[in-house]
């Protein structure tokens, strides 16, 4: 009976800690939802050596001075566990990543030197800017095996 009570207390404590931890994580993250309504990112194999990173982002009922992605990073792995960054696209040198004076933007970048036998993934930093400030959110795509 005493053992049962100890187990019950431990499970209760773990549940409470998990709830508090989840709340704490949300409390630390920036409130980017003020800028974004919805978004989607995905990675697609388009040929034996090419990958296309797609994203779309919609503002939170606001006309944005700029909206899209500020950075896209391509990652590669031989085992799907350990990842290395191999390519970075910036909005400053990839004009299709940003649209101006609008409520939504969809676009993509193509990576053309993918190697067979490797796993690939992309990190997309979604971006929106207006007179009140800048909102950013990092999302990772699905994994593709070449």
């Amino acid at each position: 009976m005493k053992k049962l009570i100890r187990v019950v207390c431990m499970v209760l404590t773990l549940s409470l800690v998990a709830s508090v931890a989840a709340q704490s994580v949300d409390a630390v993250e920036p409130r980017e939802s003020a800028f974004f309504s919805s978004h989607s990112v995905s990675l697609h194999k388009t040929s034996s050596t090419s990958l296309k990173v797609c994203f779309d982002v919609v503002s939170n009922a606001l006309i944005m001075d700029e909206i899209g992605a500020s950075m896209i990073e391509i990652y590669r792995s031989s085992n799907g566990v350990n990842w290395s960054k191999i390519k970075t696209y910036y909005k400053s040198n990839t004009s299709s990543m940003i649209c101006t004076n609008t409520t939504s933007h969809s676009s993509n970048v193509t990576y053309t030197t993918a190697l067979s036998g490797y796993y690939y993934m992309a990190g997309v930093t979604l971006y929106a800017k207006n007179s009140t400030g800048i909102g950013e959110k990092l999302r990772y795509t699905n994994i593709v095996y070449m």
Partner: protein, 272 residues
């Protein structure tokens, strides 16, 4: 029975012959529920007499007493086991309830048995595409005084969606600001924004055979389910706006509005 009563009863039994005591004991032990307050004093008396001279307690009586002892012990154990089992069941049920209460705060779903969509503290997402994409919509007719909504409906028909997904009503003063159609390997996206001098309504549709990777931002408040025409519309707050997310005819739909919930529900109801 108090000690005084026991002493008195013992004294009473001392006056009774051994043979008669054996008969009383046998009679009591043969009952369905022998009374220990009768059995024990008789046995005590017989045991006291045993010290002075041999007391011939018949084997039959001894067997009845042994059987009675066994039965008493088994029933006592059963009762203890039953109590212990109920306590364990209650404890496990309490733990499960607490875990189920905790889970929505971290995993997110209106119900843990909901399979179509789920949400966390900050985002909402669909888990599987709608299977009703190709249901015939022969009876549906779109009619709206808002030219922007008519244009939006025409865009949806052009990509093969001619069922009820586009609102037919919007509050006065909202004119079409922009409408965009995008094709990607993930599917199609149709997006429209309607604006007044200081407010905007945004409607976005995502169409994909295999489902999308879309996430819908929300504040860390509970999701309210507004069911209309058999479709569940999830209403949440997103910063100062209201966000309505639903899936119908194989289309993921989201409406962002800076209006009160009564207006939002009227826009949603006008879809059907």
């Amino acid at each position: 029975m108090t000690d005084r009563q026991k002493t008195c009863q013992n004294k009473d039994f001392e006056q009774i012959s051994t043979e008669h005591l054996n008969e009383m004991l046998q009679t009591e032990l043969k009952k369905d529920l022998p009374d220990d307050s009768v059995v024990l004093p008789i046995l005590n008396t017989l045991q006291e007499r045993e010290k002075d001279y041999p007391v011939a307690i018949p084997n039959e009586v001894i067997d009845l007493w042994v059987e009675h002892e066994k039965q008493t012990h088994v029933e006592s154990s059963k009762l203890k086991n039953k109590r212990g089992f109920m306590l364990r069941v209650a404890a496990v049920a309490a733990v499960i309830c607490l875990i189920l209460i905790a889970i929505p705060r971290t995993v997110g779903a209106g119900s843990v048995f909901q399979v179509l969509f789920r949400w966390t503290e900050s985002v909402f997402e669909f888990l599987s595409p709608d299977d009703n994409r190709n249901d015939p919509q022969a009876e549906y007719v779109f009619e709206s005084d808002n030219k922007g909504l008519q244009q939006l409906y025409n865009k949806m028909v052009a990509v093969g969606v001619n069922g009820p997904v586009v609102p037919m009503w919007m509050p006065d003063g909202y004119d079409l600001f922009e409408i965009k159609t995008t094709n990607s390997p993930e599917g199609e996206k149709i997006h429209a924004a309607f604006a007044t001098d200081d407010r905007i309504i945004v409607i976005t549709y995502r169409i994909s055979e295999q489902g999308t990777q879309a996430q819908y931002e929300k504040k860390d408040e509970s999701v309210r389910i507004y069911e209309y025409a058999g479709v569940q519309h999830c209403i949440t707050k997103n910063d100062i706006n209201l966000s309505v997310v639903w899936m119908n005819n194989g289309v993921e739909c989201v409406l962002n509005v800076c209006e009160d919930e009564e207006i939002v529900r009227k826009i949603v109801a006008s879809i059907y």
